[in-house]
Amino acid sequence: MKCSVKAFGIAREILDARELMLDLPDGATVAQLRQLLIGRYPRLGALTSLFIAVNTEYAPDDRLLLSGDEIALIPPVSGG
């Protein structure tokens, strides 16, 4: 299953890309995606937190990813 993942802030700098295409196994969860990305980009694992948004909402770890989902990496926010 091909999925595109957007990245913002420090996550965008670590990936060196605003968007990444990933091939995920069918039935992959948010937690599995996070593990895969931290495995590939260890600096993501050093962040205070790394939430994953699916279709512009914070997604729980057990959320199943579907092809066509809008997936985004959300490092610690700091608006204001």
């Binding site: 948004a53 959300i74 490092p75 608006g79």
Partner: protein, 143 residues
């Protein structure tokens, strides 16, 4: 009103968006860029947003706020891009029948915005740069 913009914020427009004849108070929070952090001079800040999600999260915060206080209107405008010290980064306005609710609701909205809304800022110093709150090892956990 919910707006993410690269242009300077028109503060009066944000206030006007909350106007209501039933309001006895409008509380306004104006966030500005500070010129120092950890004793170092900040040259500028870079803000970026995941705009679609930021708008959705702000909408949720507005709904939560109206459930907790009898507010009449609320508006949020957040700037992105390059901001220099002294510039306005965010304006939040809340109208309510009485000042107490307006103060409390506005403070709640600011706090929730800082916790939940996908907007990021990077401080650019004379000798380096740092994404705020990104790492637990840095002393900079406030923002």
């Amino acid at each position: 009103m919910i707006k993410i913009t690269e242009k300077p914020i028109d503060i009066q427009k944000v206030i006007d968006a909350t106007a209501s004849l039933g309001a006895g108070a409008i509380d306004v929070f104006i966030g500005t860029v500070r010129n120092t952090a950890h004793g170092k001079n900040v040259v500028w800040l870079e803000y970026e947003a995941y705009e679609a999600m930021a708008v959705a999260e702000i909408r949720k915060i507005m709904a939560e706020t109206s459930q907790r206080w009898p507010i009449l209107g609320s508006a949020v405008c957040h700037r992105v891009g390059t901001l220099k010290p002294g510039e306005v980064s965010v304006v939040i306005a809340v109208s309510a029948p009485h000042r107490k609710e307006a103060f409390e609701a506005c403070e709640y909205m600011v706090s929730r915005l800082k916790e939940k809304v996908p907007i990021w800022k990077k401080e650019i110093f004379e000798d380096g740069e740092e994404w705020i709150s990104a790492h637990p090892s840095t002393s900079n956990t406030y923002n």
